[in-house]
């Protein structure tokens, strides 16, 4: 089963809709609730990152028998130092993002904590690609 979402930057009123849709789909497939939580927390943090930092982006989710793969691509400013961005507390988020309850530098570490595989590559000025896998 494959899902594709277009994500609009800066629009927090609909941020989380993609993750919510995936949560419902996983519940319908009777996936273990503990796995669902790991998947949707990782995806939600990634979705929030796109909304918080990029002009726009896409999320593609593949639900397979043995794993869930999430491909998150954004057209944003890119991450200058990915290694530093993986450190808890490192953040370049704006005040408006912080007012929504995010932007404290926990997003990428939260994704890594929940993922079985987390690959991220970023080009300054072009955007960021993330690939997250969680085994079922």
């Amino acid at each position: 089963m494959e899902f594709l979402f277009e994500i609009e930057g800066a629009n927090f009123s609909v941020a989380g809709n993609a993750s919510s849709t995936i949560k419902r789909a996983l519940k319908q497939r009777n996936v273990d609730p503990a796995k669902i939580k790991r998947i949707v927390v990782a995806l939600f943090e990634a979705e929030i990152n796109v909304v918080a930092h990029a002009d726009h982006g896409t999320i593609r989710v593949l639900i397979e028998d043995h794993q869930v793969q999430m491909f998150v691509k954004d057209f944003g400013p890119g991450i200058e130092d990915v290694k530093e961005a993986m450190r808890e507390g490192y953040s370049t988020a704006s005040n408006s993002v912080r007012e929504m309850g995010f932007g404290a530098g926990m997003g990428l570490p939260n994704i890594k904590r929940n993922a079985d595989v987390f690959e991220i590559e970023s080009v300054k000025g072009l955007g960021t690609n993330a690939h997250i896998i969680i085994y079922l």
Partner: protein, 114 residues
């Protein structure tokens, strides 16, 4: 839940809060930072927060939190109600501060997570 509602002078504004049993909530976690909420691994947890926007509800949805206490007199809006109903999340509003709500919950026997 009636005793908790009374102690914190809360207004049930969404969901059938009274149908919830205290047994459903062993723990409380207070935060205005949603990424910290997303790190929780315990169930039976209620969220105490002063953050009142749609992302509060979405975060609770992802973290499997079924009761949110919105503090400091903040008012939920219609979009929050809509998503909370869809996700079967109950909302309480109170004029009390987060600190005071936590004190009341603690003295009632609701445990901290850490």
């Amino acid at each position: 839940m009636n005793e908790i509602i009374k102690r914190i002078e809360a207004r049930p504004v969404c969901g059938d809060v009274c149908s919830l049993r205290t047994d459903d909530f062993e723990f409380a976690f207070a935060s205005d930072l949603m990424s910290d909420v997303l790190r929780l691994t315990y169930e039976k947890t209620m969220l105490v927060t002063g953050l009142c926007n749609v992302q509060t509800i979405r975060t609770a949805e992802m973290a499997e939190i079924k009761l949110i206490i919105i503090c400091r007199g903040k008012k939920c809006d219609d979009q929050m109600f809509k998503i909370a109903k869809e996700c079967d999340i109950c909302l309480l509003e109170t004029n009390y501060s987060v600190y005071r709500v936590c004190g009341e919950l603690y003295s009632y026997g609701i445990k901290p997570l850490y």
